[in-house]
Amino acid sequence: MGEMIFEASGLTKEFGEVTALRDVSLSLRGPSIIGLIGRNASGKTTLLRHIVGLQLPTRGQARTLGVATRSLQHEQLARIGVVPDAPTFMRWMSVGEQLRYLSAFYPRWDMERQSSLAGLLELDLHADVSGLSTGSAQKLAIVAALCPRPDLILLDEPVSNLDPIARDQFLKLLLEIVQEDRATIVISSHVLHDIESTVDWIVCLNNGTVAADAALDDLKDQYAEWRVLARTRDLPDRFADAFVVRQTVMEPRRARLVVRTAGADLRAFQAAHDADVEAAPLNLQGLFPILVDNGRH
């Protein structure tokens, strides 16, 4: 596999009484687009801050681009682009001035990319930073993070304020950049629909622990929905089979199950319950509650 981008082992982060990350072990390799998902307050932002060294582990190890995060130098930081969840800028500048100011810090700043990105995202370089809407501030943060041609890009809910067309363009842009720069992108988002069309890898956090860390396509292979219709007699109130992960009995003869495909024997199940079963794949929205539940055990 590719270059090791971020490595955590036994990473725990406590804020006073609160444990934000609990014994997290992860190895993220690139190039890749990694979707970081989870419920609110599951530790996603804290993990992103650990990758770039903005926060340090209470216990355990964290290494980014081969260097312990407490020792990250300008050399590594210049290779990382960050779009925070609430970007702030120097408010007395115009958008163009802000970008010119930032470009001085980055030897690889790509002026051509700057103009093409600003055009694609319809960002007005002459506008005052102080007057930007939330959506436009997000666009400025995106341009600022991508123009240095970083090897690692961290995006914390970058699309929440973009409209559907801007969002679509932005996601396509990520696909191009990961190829052009062989970059690795970690993107956190609540909009699973966007994540699903963009990422190849999923990291799901729940209550500060890793609930899933796998290729998106492999997760899809691991679970399926079974729609069960009994032919002759009522279904049990509860299915005891070990491969049944979730179950809803809608009527005495009708149920919807989520099964782990590895252990599930469809024919045996049909015979045991004298039932018709339709098996259907699950998309990321359908998988999400199961992944989160896994994190509970």
Partner: protein
């Protein structure tokens, strides 16, 4: 090459890609020597993750359907007619599965269903 991927269907995207390319080769829509779009071109067209496309291409190379030549586009490999006919049959039988189960549900017998399909293919319905 005409590929359509539904990333939200739940079927892994790389598998959709595999199935469609296999079908087009079996159907003769992709012929030996035909060039396959680059990962970058297909990613831009479908809005699909490039690693997912590379994964599918690598699998198709492994099974000998595609051929990579240094610095050149991927192409469809020449295959024996026999292999191709077998692949065609397997592909088609897989597609018949849902139809057969529908016929059973509708209480339509094998002969009746088979005749209906024959008429539909050979008739001038096009």
């Amino acid at each position: 090459m005409l590929i359509t991927i539904d990333v939200h269907s739940g079927v892994p995207a790389y598998r959709q890609l595999l199935d469609q390319i296999r079908l087009q080769v079996a159907a003769g829509r992709l012929r030996p020597g035909d060039e396959i779009p680059s990962t970058r071109a297909l990613s831009a067209e479908l809005g699909l993750n490039p690693m997912t496309i590379s994964r599918a291409y690598a699998l198709l190379e492994e099974e000998g359907l595609l051929e990579r030549r240094p610095g050149l586009p991927l192409v469809v490999r020449a295959r024996s007619g026999a292999t191709s006919a077998t692949a065609r049959g397997a592909q088609f039988t897989r597609a018949l599965g849902p139809v057969a189960s529908m016929a059973r549900q509708l209480g339509i017998g094998g002969k009746e269903a088979g005749d209906a399909l024959r008429r539909l293919i050979d008739g001038n319905e096009r």
